[in-house]
């Protein structure tokens, strides 16, 4: 469900910690039988915890269908577009400020300064972030989160990891997410009630923005779990390389006449053990 925004903050950090601990504990157990429950033919090297991940995904789908999606739809239908855009802008301005720090932590000074200008412009000329004049000025948003920073520092992303309630992630991005949450808008208040309120608003705003994406997902994916997984991993990889990851070869086996039983190709079959 957090497909589009990658590691964007989405829930209270307390909850995230619990979720992560539970997931780590269970995930750790799941590694012992080495993906025993995963469909054996399709065991993916990036997804050793597939059988656990699929269960969490199924759980998330049920929760989303029952609670999150209806709430997000109500939010979309009840509040006028102008109000929703304003809320999204204010939250986005906070995230942008954290992006500035991450740009700089990754040594991207120029884009960090650009994003810094963006935050300043929106804060001072955009009524504290309610409006987004910076985009009109050509200072478009380029988000960076702490998971990307860790990646830039050379930390491998580790196994794919479906987080309860929070959606697709990797071990590295889950750690990055915990750090992201420490500087989220919800941390600005002291009372826990206000924190939960802001965190809930963040989550609803995020989910409402993804309504069209997830609807599309239902129609285009043959296997939704693996589609979400592959899409998430590709997107993170793309973000890590700032939009230009090394190209993979375009696999095309050619067009031999249909019925011919393909004469042994160049690559020898792997020797059976």
């Amino acid at each position: 469900m957090t497909l589009e925004r990658g590691g964007r903050p989405a829930a209270p950090s307390g909850l995230a910690v619990i979720a992560l601990v539970v997931a780590l504990a269970l995930g750790g157990c799941a590694t012992v039988p080495a993906g025993a429950g995963a469909t054996p033919a399709q065991a993916s090297p990036v997804d050793p915890w597939e059988s656990w991940n699929r269960k969490v995904f199924a759980f998330n789908e049920v929760v989303d269908e029952a609670v999150l999606k209806p709430v997000a739809e109500a939010y979309r239908d009840v509040l006028p577009q102008l109000v929703r855009t304003g809320i999204g802008n204010v939250l986005g301005n906070f995230y942008d400020a954290w992006s500035v720090a991450n740009h700089l932590l990754q040594g991207k000074v120029q884009s960090g300064l650009d994003m810094g200008m963006r935050v300043l412009s929106n804060t001072f000329f955009g009524l504290g972030g309610l409006l987004d004049p910076a985009t009109e000025m050509g200072l478009t948003r380029h988000s960076e989160d702490f998971g990307q920073t860790l990646g830039r520092w050379g930390l491998p992303d580790g196994p794919f990891f479906m987080l309860p309630l929070l959606g697709p992630s990797t071990l590295r991005d889950a750690v990055g997410f915990l750090v992201d949450r420490q500087v989220s808008p919800a941390q600005l208040t002291d009372t826990s009630t206000a924190r939960w309120a802001i965190a809930s608003l963040e989550l609803i705003n995020l989910r409402a923005n993804l309504l069209q994406t997830t609807q599309l997902l239902d129609t285009v994916a043959l296997d939704k779990y693996s589609f979400v997984r592959d899409a998430f991993l590709s997107r993170r990889r793309d973000l890590l390389y700032d939009g230009a990851p090394p190209m993979e070869t375009f696999e095309d086996e050619g067009d031999d006449p249909a019925p011919a039983p393909a004469p042994a190709p160049a690559s020898p079959a792997p020797a059976p053990k």
Partner: protein, 203 residues
């Protein structure tokens, strides 16, 4: 005054008329041309804005498909099993896959409102004759990345894969298809696609 305006507009017309001839030359010019045509049409068409799949289909057929090598696209998505597929199976795979992809496209096009497309970079793919043209769809919010992978075939550049927000679609479908073929062979894949397209058409 009027004379000035007329000569200015005739200059513009001349430039526009000269463009298509130039457009066939380089892959980025081709992508730019397709993007502008599709976005302008989608913006002006109320039915497309409302998500009318048949209108989108017509738009894609006329503006995009002539520049896509759809046989290569399907062949790559299906993988090694393509060789063993009969001509009939191949035709069915192409039809159903196209319907599926057009649905992805129509979902995206219905959201086009005040966007513009900018070609940002053109990169060669090392070790091949292919090129990647990177574009950004700009509107409100974060720009959306939309890249094209092209190959030169018979003196014309043809699109063979599209990257939406970091995801190469044909590459991604390759692993989706592999799972289905593993379960039920080529016919199993065809059935799944037919079912999927039917249920999507209803809902």
């Amino acid at each position: 005054m009027l004379k000035k305006l007329l000569s200015a507009s005739s200059l513009v017309l001349t430039l526009v008329a000269a463009m298509p001839a130039h457009a066939t030359g380089t892959p980025d010019a081709l992508v730019r041309q397709i993007s502008i045509e599709v976005i302008d049409t989608a913006k002006a068409d109320k039915a497309i804005q409302a998500g009318d799949v048949n209108r989108v289909l017509a738009l894609v057929e006329s503006k995009v498909m002539p520049h896509v090598n759809f046989e290569v696209v399907t062949r790559s998505a299906v993988g090694p099993q393509w060789r063993g597929a009969t001509a009939d199976q191949r035709a069915k795979l192409q039809t159903e896959f196209k319907t599926l992809l057009v649905r992805v496209y129509s979902g995206a096009l219905a959201q086009v409102k005040d966007q513009t497309v900018e070609v940002t970079k053109t990169l060669p793919v090392p070790g091949s004759t292919q090129m990647v043209v990177q574009t950004e769809v700009r509107g409100s919010g974060e720009p959306i990345k939309l890249d094209y992978r092209l190959d030169k075939q018979a003196e014309a550049w043809k699109i063979i894969d599209v990257n939406v927000g970091g995801l190469w679609l044909v590459q991604n479908y390759r692993s989706q298809f592999a799972t289905e073929i593993g379960k039920g062979g080529i016919d199993g894949l065809i059935n799944t696609l037919v079912e999927r397209n039917k249920s999507a058409a209803k809902g």
